[in-house]
């Protein structure tokens, strides 16, 4: 292995960084989490407080303790998350879930934001690329065809002159 195969210093530094990150990630892999805490934050309290089950803070709430007991029983019975949610939906209705499910029409709730963002992003990139192809025409080149009427152009220039506000600032960043 000669010098020709030697990696540049910055690539080595990058490798070392990734290695450090990977080690740190693996160090944290053994900590346990509370399943009841996680699931209670995906269900709604049914007392009408519009709070997550895990966050309902009403003393004497008629539903919180009952729901938490059902959740604990479900976990003790080795039910999967989905089975627990199905049980709750069967008993309380779909509004007991704190977020739409990922099947049927509910899936639209999850897809639409990313679809809109993706489409808008794509459109923006395509527009910029198309404009870039025009070579960044000057203000005059674009302005002239827009104001074919010289009287209109004169009117706008007059407003610009007459109002005392300076627009030549390098405002913003």
């Amino acid at each position: 292995m000669g010098a020709s195969t030697r990696l540049p210093a910055w690539v080595k530094a990058l490798e070392a960084t990734f290695l450090a990150v990977a080690i740190c990630f693996s160090l944290g892999a053994s900590s346990p989490t509370s399943r009841i805490d996680t699931l209670s934050h995906r269900l709604m309290c049914q007392c009408g407080c519009a709070q997550l089950l895990g966050e309902c803070d009403h003393v004497g709430c008629p539903d919180r303790d009952k729901e938490l007991a059902e959740l604990t029983a479900g976990i003790a019975s080795s039910l999967t998350d989905q089975q627990i949610f199905d049980t709750f939906v069967a008993k309380y209705g779909a509004t007991v879930l704190a977020a739409p499910t990922t099947h049927g029409f509910d899936l639209v709730a999850w897809i639409a934001p990313f679809a809109v963002f993706g489409a808008a992003l794509l459109l923006t990139i395509l527009l910029i690329r198309r404009w870039g192809g025009l070579g960044g025409k000057s203000r005059a080149e674009f302005t002239e065809p827009a104001f074919v009427d010289p009287a209109e152009r004169e009117r706008i220039e007059r407003i610009r002159r007459e109002t005392s506000i300076d627009t030549g600032s390098s405002g913003g960043y």
């Binding site: 160090l27 739409p100 999850w110």
Partner: protein, 686 residues
């Protein structure tokens, strides 16, 4: 006083209607040049004066309502429902906006105030101001119609007048509630002004960069008020609702956030129009949308379309708002179609990697965030319509969808200022981005080393993962902005011999808008750091007998007693908790539960001890009816204080950006060629 208030509202409606009709007629006569019996300029001036008189009429109505609250005039239904004799004085003011009729009156009064100021400043450009004034009068006519015919605040009680009122909702009896709603309304209503200027400018084919320049201060102040209103609302929710959080993605919260997002997008994209003559149509539609979103929020919550824990008043006025929004939208579309030729761009973007495109992407992300929130707010209604089943769209949805978008926005906050206008080279990118990238990875390593674990039991822990990304990107953005300050300050320091701190101050004063804007970005980053802390919230709940103790984080809470108190307004119960750390007693906390006498409703008063690392947040939830022991819930919420600190930085940044920049003496002095240039001139003045 009820008759006086009602009369004031009627007069105000007549004056606003005159302002609208006479103003529109005068502008029409001026535009067409038709001969008329009265000079159009005089007619326009009478319209303007009617607008000013209308402000005083609405002020009279607002005064009448406040006076009625203070004199306990329970013959007025609104006062009976929202006040009582023992209500403390600051909350008597709060009664003005605690119900629907009062808050609509506040809206109309603020709109009148904005219009009053605008009409006094009309000499800046008489014709443009006449257009804007007439449009504001149109909006005012709507609110006064609602106040006179759909939600009258001075409606009288039928039958015998009770000796005392029903009291103010206990949730509203908190100091923030005296300033949070007015701030929010100042923000909502304030967006009417740039909207009126944008629509007016489009109607009269006014140069785009001019109306933007004229309304810049209005827009920034409005944005600042809305920002303060939202954050004060968060603090109120945190301190009063007692659930340990500050943002629950409730429809009312969402309603305030949506116009903030589009307003923020507008503040950024107008810079493109000012500098490059670009995005004219976009800007016009951004401000149209922002105005419509301020209306939509009220429509959704007050109209009862969606339920909210914050909607303190609901009625049938939603229909009025829907009709008004439809009319406004139709006028906007009609005007845009008619005048769109005036909005042709003067430049186009040249490169994907440039300052201009970063503005565009920033707008894209802000609008996507707005769409996500609108979509989430409306999806329960859509779902019910499509599949006949209502679903809940709560925090888990928004956390999963909105947080990645927010992080991308944070990333752009750092990237944008580092990119030059027009286009950039790979070399320039490398030069500008080395330090932020180093800061990003260093933060990742430090966070992992101190125990931020995005991986739990082989699965990704989204909360910790997002927190890690937030801290890392925040570090990168702070480094990017810091290096911008440093670069500019170093040049000034070299030129003038000032130290770096003085040079930074001078740099900021020379371009207040740019560096004030950077400061706002720093504030946003500080807020994000505070929000990321919520991933590590801890809580413990326990019944506590005397001398019982609970442990949370480094603190030990010991129950040392309970007491009761009462006044004319409420009875209260306290639990006293001594707080120890490392065996040393630090302080005592007294979480409280109040029982308001007039309304018969209980209310929690949370005890909060805030330090930069975290908030110790203790709730007295009441007593267990079986054991009669107090139930205490304690939270340890990391970095919450940073959120409020971030708001302060954002406000300071906005205020700096509002101050005119210092013109360097070197630029304004004309020195004859033969005369030597003095050192003082070279140094620039401050």
């Amino acid at each position: 006083m009820a008759a006086f208030g009602s009369f004031c509202l009627l007069i105000a409606l007549a004056l606003a209607a005159y302002n609208l009709l006479a103003g529109a007629l005068a502008l029409r006569l001026i535009a067409t040049g038709q001969p008329a019996r009265i000079s159009p300029e005089r007619l326009a001036d009478t319209a303007r004066r009617a607008g000013i008189a209308g402000f005083w009429a609405v002020t009279g109505a607002a005064f009448a309502l406040v006076y009625s609250v203070f004199t306990n005039d329970f013959s007025i239904t609104y006062i009976l429902d929202h006040s009582n004799r023992a209500l403390p004085i600051p909350y008597k003011f709060a009664a003005l906006w605690s119900g629907q009729e009062g808050s609509l009156l506040l809206w109309a009064w603020l709109l009148g105030t904005y219009g009053f100021i605008l009409r006094l400043l009309h000499k800046t450009d008489v014709k443009l101001y006449a257009y804007a004034g007439s449009i504001l009068a149109g909006i005012q006519v709507f609110f006064l119609l609602v106040l006179n015919f759909a939600a009258p605040p001075f409606a009288l009680l039928k039958g015998a007048v009770p000796p005392d009122g029903n009291g103010l909702n206990p949730l509203l009896q908190y100091p923030e509630m005296v300033i949070h709603p007015p701030m929010l309304y100042l923000g909502y209503v304030g967006f009417s002004v740039p909207f009126a200027f944008a629509l007016g400018a489009l109607m009269m084919r006014y140069p785009g960069e001019k109306w933007i320049r004229i309304t810049r201060a209005w827009t920034m102040v409005t944005w600042m008020f809305l920002t303060c209103g939202i954050f004060l609302g968060m603090h109120w929710a945190y301190a009063v609702l007692g659930w340990g959080g500050y943002w629950g993605w409730d429809p009312v919260e969402n309603a305030s956030f949506m116009p903030w997002l589009t307003g923020t997008a507008f503040l950024h994209s107008v810079m493109m129009q000012e500098r490059k003559g670009m995005m004219k149509s976009w800007n016009v539609w951004l401000i149209f949308s922002t105005f419509l979103l301020t209306m939509l929020g009220t429509t959704l919550t007050r109209g009862g379309l969606v339920s909210s824990v914050h909607a303190f008043a609901q009625s049938s006025i939603g229909t009025w708002f829907v009709v008004f929004m439809g009319i406004v939208l139709a006028i906007c579309i009609f005007t845009y179609v008619l005048q769109r030729g005036h909005l042709k761009t003067e430049h186009h973007l040249e490169s994907l990697v440039s300052r201009e495109s970063s503005f565009l992407f920033n707008n894209l992300v802000l609008l996507t965030a707005c769409f996500v929130i609108l979509w989430g707010t409306l999806f329960p209604i859509i779902s019910e319509y499509v599949q006949g089943t209502k679903v809940t769209v709560g925090a888990p949805f928004y956390n999963r969808v909105a947080i990645p978008i927010g992080l991308f926005l944070l990333f752009l906050t750092g990237v944008g200022p580092l990119l030059p206008w027009r286009a950039t080279s790979f070399k320039a990118i490398k030069r500008n981005f080395v330090l932020p990238v180093i800061a990003l990875w260093a933060t990742v390593i430090v966070c992992l080393a101190v125990g931020v674990k995005p991986w739990q039991n082989g699965a990704i822990d989204t909360g910790s993962f997002y927190a890690l990304v937030s801290f890392a990107v925040a570090a990168a953005v702070l480094t990017a902005i810091g290096s911008e300050f440093l670069r500019g300050a170093s040049v000034i320091s070299r030129q003038t011999g000032r130290n770096l701190l003085a040079a930074t101050w001078l740099l900021t004063r020379r371009n207040t808008r740019r560096y004030g804007g950077y400061l706002v970005h720093i504030g946003v980053v500080v807020v994000v750091i505070g929000l990321a802390g919520s991933a590590f919230n801890r809580s413990v709940e326990s019944e506590m007998a005397l001398h019982d103790r609970i442990q949370i984080g480094p603190y030990t809470l010991v129950q040392v007693g309970a007491t009761q108190d009462s006044n004319d307004n409420y009875n209260s119960e306290y639990t006293m908790l001594d707080v120890y750390k490392g065996g040393k007693r630090l302080f005592q906390m007294t979480p409280e539960k109040r029982f308001y006498l007039a309304s018969g409703q209980p209310q929690t008063m949370v005890a909060i001890h805030s330090v930069p690392e975290w908030d110790l947040y203790v709730v007295y939830e009441g007593t267990n009816p079986d054991t009669a022991q107090p139930i205490i819930k304690a939270f340890l919420n990391p970095l919450v204080g940073w959120i409020w600190l971030g708001l302060v930085v954002m406000v300071v940044g906005t205020l700096i950006a509002l101050v005119p920049s210092l013109t360097p003496a070197t630029a304004s002095l004309r020195v004859p060629a033969a005369q030597p240039v003095t050192e003082a001139v070279l140094k620039g003045g401050d």
